[in-house]
C-alpha cells in the first residue's frame, strides 16, 4: 500500500501518519494465510484440520499431500471450479495439524465456504463438512 509510505514534514501530520501506519500493518490483497489476531470486519478466517489418510478402503497413510483448495460462494452448496478463491500449500506431505486461510475485502453479505485437500497427483478430496458461513455486515 504505497499511501502508507508517504512522508510529511509537519509534526501534526507525523503523528497522524504514525497512527495511520499502525493501522496499515498487515494490509494485503484479497486473501492470506492467517497469522493470528482478530479478523477484520470485512474478513473471514477459515480453519480446518488436515487429513492424514487416503480415501481408500484401508485408510492408507497419506504421504503426498500437496495442498488445499478454498471455495467460496454467496449461495450454499453447489460449488464449481470458478468458486475456488485460494490454493493453500500443505505445511507437509503427511497432513495433520490445523491449517487456516483468511479471505479479505469481503463486501456485506453472507458467504459460504468449503475446503478440499489434494495430493501430488492432483487427486482432490471431497468438501469439508459441514459447510461454514459468515455474514459480513
Amino acid at each position: 500500500m504505497s499511501h502508507c509510505r508517504q512522508q510529511f514534514k509537519n509534526p501534526f501530520f507525523i503523528v497522524i501518519t504514525l497512527l495511520w501506519l499502525s493501522a496499515c500493518g498487515g494490509g494485503n490483497g484479497n486473501g492470506t494465510v492467517n497469522t493470528g489476531g482478530s479478523p477484520a470486519s470485512d474478513s473471514a478466517v477459515l480453519s480446518w484440520d488436515g487429513p492424514t489418510t487416503n480415501a481408500d478402503v484401508t485408510g492408507t497413510k497419506l504421504n503426498d499431500l500437496a495442498g488445499y483448495r478454498v471455495y467460496m460462494s454467496t449461495m450454499p452448496g453447489g460449488y464449481t471450479a470458478s468458486d475456488m478463491i485460494a490454493d493453500v500449500p500443505a505445511a507437509n506431505s503427511y497432513g495433520g495439524g490445523t491449517e487456516s486461510y483468511t479471505a479479505t475485502s469481503l463486501s456485506p453479505g453472507t458467504y459460504y465456504f468449503v475446503v478440499t485437500a489434494y495430493d501430488a497427483s492432483g487427486n482432490e478430496s471431497g468438501y469439508t463438512q459441514p459447510e461454514v458461513s459468515k455474514t459480513i455486515i
Binding site: P51, T60, A117, D119, A120, K134
Partner: protein, 304 residues
Amino acid sequence: MNKPVFVIPFFVVALVLFNPNPTGASSHLLWSTTYNCTDWDQSQGNPNCDTLALHGGWTCNGTATTNEAKGERITSAANNPAGGGGKGQRHWEGDGVNDNSGSLKVNFAAKQSEIWIRWYMRYEQGFKWDPTLVYDKLLYIDVLMPPVVIPGWGGFDKLFLNVEGTPYWSNSGTGWDTIMASGGASQYQVINGQGNPETHYVSDGKFHLFEIHIKMDTDGTDGVFEWWIDGTLRQTESNVNYGSSTGKTGWSHFLIGSNQRHPFNNRCMAVDYDDVAVSTGGYIGPVINNDTTPPTSPANPGVQ
C-alpha cells in the same frame, strides 16, 4: 463376406492397463530406487536398500548438530511426495569447502557405455551460497576410476560437466539461479570477488527433476552429454572426449551426493535425492504416478 475378427490376448490388455513399475516412460531400466527401505544412517555401514552401498565417511563436521553428525541417511523426511515409495536419501552440505556427509554408491553388474540417469533433488528451503557457488557435484560417475564424469552446478548461472578435469559449460541462464527462480525462491545479495554486490537466489525448497545422458566416445571426439532439468534440455555436448583408452569400455558405478563449494548457512543443510533410475534404452522422464485415490476430506472446518 464376414469381417475378420481380431482377438487381443488377455495378457496384452493386462500389460497395457497395469504398469507395475511407476518409474517413468522407459522400460529399459538397469536399476532404480524409491528408497522404500528401512530407515538408515551412515553410522550403520551399508544400507539394506536396492543394492546401494555407503561410500565415504564424511559428515558435516564443521557445524554439525547431533542428528546431522550421523551423516547420510534414508528417511521419510527426504521423500519426494510426487514420486514412489515413502522415503528419500538425505545428504548434508555444510559451510565452506567440501564439508558434506557421505554418498550412496550404485554399482552396475557390467560396464555401461551409454546410460541415462534420472533423479529428483531438493535443497532445503533458504539454502545459500556465499561468496559464490564455485561448484556442487550432484553425481560422481566412476569416482577415482577413469573416465570420471561429474555433472554439477557451475556458478550461479551455468551447469558444468567435468570429465577427467576438463570442464564443459552450459549456456548462461541454465544454472542454479534460473532453476530456483522458477520455483519462486527469494533473492539475496552476495559481495563478489571484486567487492561488488550481486543478487542471487536461495533454494526454493522444492523437488526438481534432473536427467542426464552420457554416451562414450569412439575416438575422443564424439562423446555425447545431455542434461535436462524439469523436462527442459539445458546442456548438450556432442564432442566430449571421455578420456583414456581404458575408460572407453564404459562406466561401472556412480555416487549419489558429493562435495561442493561454498555454502554459507551457519549450519549443515539438507539436500534430498529421490526416485533415482538408470536406463540403457533411452530417456526416462518423470515418475508416472498411477495414484488415483484422493486424500480424505479436511475435518473440523470453522470460520470467524
